[in-house]
Structures are given as structure tokens and as C-alpha cells.
């Protein structure tokens, strides 16, 4: 293992975060607060309790998931796309670093940032609504697993994207809709039966459901299924990254 290299890339990425600390923390905190004002207070007042918790508290896990997914993807996408775009990537590719080490350091840094931000949002949420976390260790497990999985997806997108437009394409057209339709703001049970079936094809449903279970002990799908699906996504993305490096896809002609 080239630990010096992993440390160098990881710290480089974290330094990038420090330089943009204000906007990278402030923006999500403000947008989350807005969600609470709009959904929690304004609309939530008309919605009865969902699965035994107030609507404001019900949406907290979904909101954190929404942020976690978008942040993981965008952090990792940018982390690998930008050096590719500015061509500074030559240095990493010419270094005595294995593919695993490259992925581990970039994805690790992207996931770290996303997790830190999620915890900040969790703390912000606690200011607005009474929170309880029934399974804190499982909550952390879902947080870390999802951050890693979607940072890996971001890494894949960053390698795939060859212009700035594509950089936004997948987050906007895929991630955001899937998250909004993935039960972040409602329970799947609230949908008509046909849409409930459709929802089961949305991977985000499993993540939100499992994550919400770790808070309130109730879930749309069995927890075991959520864990299984999360691990399955991780495995699929790992396989894609391995294929990309093996073939040199968009990195090595």
C-alpha cells in the first residue's frame, strides 16, 4: 500500500473543502432550513402524524439522505473531473499508485465531506423538530455505506463526463428525481398500490427506508432488504470502476 499517496490525495481533497468551507456548509444548511420551514411548518401542519411521528420529524432522515446522495455524487464527480479537465491528473496516473488507492483516497475524501455535512444537517434539524434515533449504530452504518456508494457513483460520472454539461446531467436528471420519488417526504404506503410497486424499482427507496428505520424503527421495506440493496449498489459501482481502470476508459488512451 502506498499510504503516503493515499494521505496526500485525501488531504489535498480535504484542503479543497477547507478553502470553500463557507459555501459548502452554509448552502446545504440554509436549503435544509428552508425545507423545514416549507414542508415541516407550513404544509406539515395540515399533515397528521406519519408512522407515529410528526411530519416535521418524519422528513428528517429523507432530507439527510437527499443531501447525502447529492453531496456524495457531486463531491466525487468534481474531485476527479476537474483534474481530468485541467490535465493535472497526469501526475496521479504516473505515480506508483494502484487503482484501488486512487479510488479509496478520492472516494474516501468525498464520502467524508458528505458525512460531515449530513451530521451538520442532522444537528440543524434538531433545532427545528424533536428527534430520536433508535439505532444510532445502524444510522451511522447507512450513512457511511450510502456516502461511499454514491461517492463511487460520482467518481464514475466524473470519469465518464467529458464536458461541464454532462457533469450536471446525471445529478439533475437522475439523482434528484429518484430522491424526491424515493420516499424522502412521504411514506410509500401513502401511494396508490400501482405506484408502490413502481417505487420498488427506485434504489433510493431502500436507502431512505433503511435510514428512517434507524431513526424511528419503522420502515417501508424490511431492513435486511435495504442493507442488501445498498451493498448491491456498492458492488455494481465497484465493478464499473474496476472495468474503467482496467480498460483505461477516458483516462488512458
Amino acid at each position: 500500500m502506498n499510504w503516503h499517496a493515499i494521505r496526500a490525495i485525501y488531504l489535498f481533497e480535504m484542503a479543497r473543502t477547507r478553502r470553500t468551507l463557507l459555501q459548502s456548509v452554509l448552502a446545504p444548511v440554509i436549503s435544509t432550513s428552508l425545507y423545514f420551514v416549507v414542508f415541516g411548518s407550513a404544509i406539515g401542519g395540515y399533515i397528521p402524524e406519519v408512522e407515529g411521528v410528526s411530519y416535521g420529524a418524519f422528513i428528517v432522515p429523507g432530507l439527510i439522505m437527499l443531501n447525502l446522495l447529492t453531496q456524495s455524487v457531486s463531491n466525487a464527480t468534481f474531485a476527479i473531473f476537474f483534474p481530468k479537465f485541467s490535465r493535472t491528473i497526469y501526475e496521479v496516473l504516473s505515480a506508483p499508485v494502484s487503482h484501488f488507492e486512487i479510488v479509496a483516497s478520492y472516494v474516501g475524501a468525498a464520502a467524508t465531506k458528505a458525512i460531515m455535512l449530513s451530521l451538520i444537517i442532522l444537528a440543524t434539524a434538531a433545532l427545528f423538530v424533536p428527534l430520536r434515533i433508535e439505532h444510532p449504530l445502524w444510522m451511522l452504518f447507512f450513512l457511511v455505506l450510502t456516502a461511499l456508494t454514491f461517492s463511487l457513483l460520482g467518481f464514475i460520472l466524473g470519469i465518464w463526463a467529458d464536458n461541464f454539461d454532462k457533469l450536471q446531467l446525471v445529478p439533475l436528471l437522475v439523482i434528484t428525481p429518484l430522491t424526491f420519488l424515493g420516499g424522502s417526504f412521504y411514506s410509500i404506503d401513502m401511494l396508490p398500490p400501482a405506484w408502490q410497486t413502481v417505487s420498488l424499482f427506485n434504489p433510493v427507496v431502500y436507502l431512505v427506508s433503511g435510514f428512517r428505520w434507524s431513526f424511528y424503527g419503522s420502515a417501508d421495506v424490511a431492513v435486511g432488504v435495504s442493507v442488501g440493496m445498498a451493498l448491491l449498489f456498492l458492488a455494481v459501482f465497484v465493478a464499473i470502476v474496476m472495468w474503467m481502470f482496467k480498460t483505461g476508459y477516458r483516462l488512458k488512451p
Binding site: 499517496a5 489535498f12 483534474p83 485541467s86 497526469y90 499508485v97 483505461g248 488512458k252
Partner: protein, 320 residues
């Protein structure tokens, strides 16, 4: 002694179908300065990129100090420093951080004393806390060199090191390269400035259209292909060279108004010293008058141009 870099049967065809390298065999000797000379698009950067791990070879093998660049890439790459042709730097990093980053990336523990020494040697010390975006092009080039040397490599690749570089930096760079060679570092530079190869290199490899045309000690190359050239401007054009002068190997140029005579200035063999005198006397007795004459040393540039055009001619003839 085992060559520091051994390239055998190396080929690269890009997915577009463009054959950038065609069956290259080349050994780089330990501690030499090797210049890879060729026009733009000849395959110089592709060759370097394959050795450094930036481009996948289509066929063939490369070993760095006996380590295969694919199977044993860690050992091979740890020995190499690369200064790319383009000024690619992270805009918002400081000089100190970016150079320290490179050292870590190549698996070396931090060594602030060495980095300090390096930055001082490259006149970058006063800029160590400056963000890269604020540096001039020449300073960025120095930073790229510092990054490449940050992990104390045994082999340094300089891809077009003096393209767009001012005289001062060029001089500094040449001094640095010589100093590195004195410490046992092998330096491989690509250039299309012949002057650079002539000034710096111990050996020169000429590459054109993906093929290595020739590899030679610079001195030998200069002697073998260099020589001198005497050009005579004739008073009246000649249709052909009189048979009495055939043994001089003269060439008619510019529509018969010039006679060109190639000779070695330090050649051996009988009558060498008097060759020009003999020629001029024989010209006189053949009734050929000339208005003017001049001699010129052939530069590496002339050699290069004639090599490449001879090659192209041969290829065209083969094709017929």
C-alpha cells in the same frame, strides 16, 4: 551495465487507428542525457507517456531498471519524474503544498529540508506560499520541474522543456540538467529544437512518424553526418558535371547555377588536406568559372532534415 530503460518492440495504435509508434527498440544508458528529436506529431510524447504510465501500449515491453512498467509498475514509476509539455497546475494550491503533494504521491515520507533545497535550487523559494494561479508561465514551468524532482527520481523526463521559455530559464534548466546528470540521474528530453539536442545531449534519437530512424552518440552523429559543404556560385549555369570531375561527387543545385561539394574537415585518407585546392584547380582546367563561394558546417538541423526527407523518399519509392 544494464540499461536504465529498455524498450523493446513497442507499438502504439490509438483507437482512432492512428499508429503513433511503430515497433520501437531503444535502450537508454544509465546516467546519460538522451534527446529524443523529432517534428511535432512524431510520437515523442506518446513514447514518454507510455513509459510513465499515461498511455497503454498496444504491443511491446518497457522496463525501467529491470522493472516492467506494467507488471511491476510501482517500482518502475517510483524511479521516474515527469515534466509534462503543458503547464498543468492546480490553480489554488501554493507552491509548497503542490510540491509536497507530489512527493507524497510518489510514496516518499515528507522531507521539508529536501523540498526547501529543491525550491531554492529552482529560484522558487521566495514564491513558496504563492498560489499557482498567480505565477508566470516560466515560474509554473519551474514548479512542474520541482514537482517532478520532489521524490528524488533516478530518471527525469522533460517533454519539450524549453518550449515557450525565456532565455534565462532555458539556461537555468540546462544547468540543472547537467547538475542532475552529475548526481547520476538519467535525463531524457524531447525536443524539436535541434539546438537543444546539440547543446545538451550525450546521445540523440531521431524519431519521425512513429519510427526511430536513428540513435547515435551526438559526437558520432555530428561527425558522421555533419561534415562541411562548399558551395560555388557559377558564372554560367552548367547542364551537367564534366566527367573529369566525376570523382569529387559534386552535386548541381539551383538549376545548374550552383555546385555543391561535401567533405569532412577532419577526415582521414590521402589527399584530404588538398581536396579543395585540387577541386578548384580541376574546375579551372575544365573551364568552369565561379562568381562566389562559401563553406558551411552542417548543423544537426540539416542532418535531421536530410534524414527525414531521405526516409520519406525511400517510403514513397517503396510504395510505388
Amino acid at each position: 551495465m544494464q540499461p536504465i530503460i529498455s524498450i523493446s518492440a513497442l507499438s502504439k495504435t490509438y483507437s482512432s487507428g492512428f499508429a503513433a509508434l511503430k515497433h520501437i527498440d531503444l535502450d537508454i544508458r544509465r546516467g546519460e542525457i538522451f534527446a529524443l528529436l523529432g517534428p511535432n506529431g512524431a510520437g515523442k510524447t506518446t513514447l514518454i507517456s507510455i513509459i510513465c504510465g499515461l498511455v497503454n501500449p498496444t504491443a511491446g515491453r518497457v522496463a525501467v531498471d529491470g522493472h516492467d512498467i506494467i507488471r511491476d509498475y510501482r517500482a518502475a514509476r517510483a524511479m521516474i519524474g515527469l515534466v509534462p509539455q503543458e503547464l498543468t497546475t492546480d490553480a489554488f494550491e501554493s507552491v509548497w503544498n503542490t510540491v509536497s503533494f507530489s512527493r507524497g504521491l510518489f510514496g516518499k515520507p515528507p522531507n521539508p529540508a529536501y523540498i526547501e533545497e529543491l525550491l531554492k535550487a529552482l529560484s522558487l523559494w521566495s514564491k513558496k506560499d504563492v498560489r499557482l494561479v498567480a505565477l508566470s508561465g516560466g515560474m509554473k514551468r519551474r514548479v512542474l520541474i520541482a514537482k517532478a524532482l520532489s521524490h528524488e527520481p533516478q530518471v527525469l523526463f522533460l517533454d519539450e522543456p524549453t518550449a515557450g521559455v525565456d532565455v534565462e530559464l532555458r539556461r537555468d534548466m540546462w544547468q540543472l540538467v547537467r547538475r542532475l546528470r552529475d548526481t547520476g540521474v538519467t535525463v531524457i528530453l524531447t525536443t524539436h529544437y535541434i539546438e537543444e539536442a546539440e547543446e545538451m545531449a550525450d546521445r540523440v534519437g531521431v524519431i519521425s512518424k512513429g519510427e526511430l530512424i536513428l540513435v547515435e552518440d551526438k559526437e558520432t552523429l555530428m561527425r558522421k553526418l555533419g561534415g562541411k559543404q562548399l558551395t560555388l556560385q557559377l558564372a554560367a549555369p552548367l547542364a551537367q558535371i564534366p566527367s573529369a570531375l566525376a570523382h569529387y561527387g559534386l552535386v548541381l543545385a539551383k538549376g545548374g547555377t550552383e555546385l555543391v561539394y561535401r567533405y569532412e574537415d577532419e577526415g582521414e585518407g590521402e589527399g584530404r588536406e588538398t581536396a579543395i585546392a585540387d577541386l578548384l584547380r580541376d574546375l579551372g582546367s575544365a573551364g568552369i568559372c565561379f562568381a562566389d563561394l562559401h563553406t558551411a558546417q552542417r548543423s544537426l538541423e540539416d542532418i535531421f532534415v536530410s534524414l527525414v526527407s531521405a526516409r520519406e523518399q525511400a517510403v514513397t519509392e517503396d510504395a510505388r
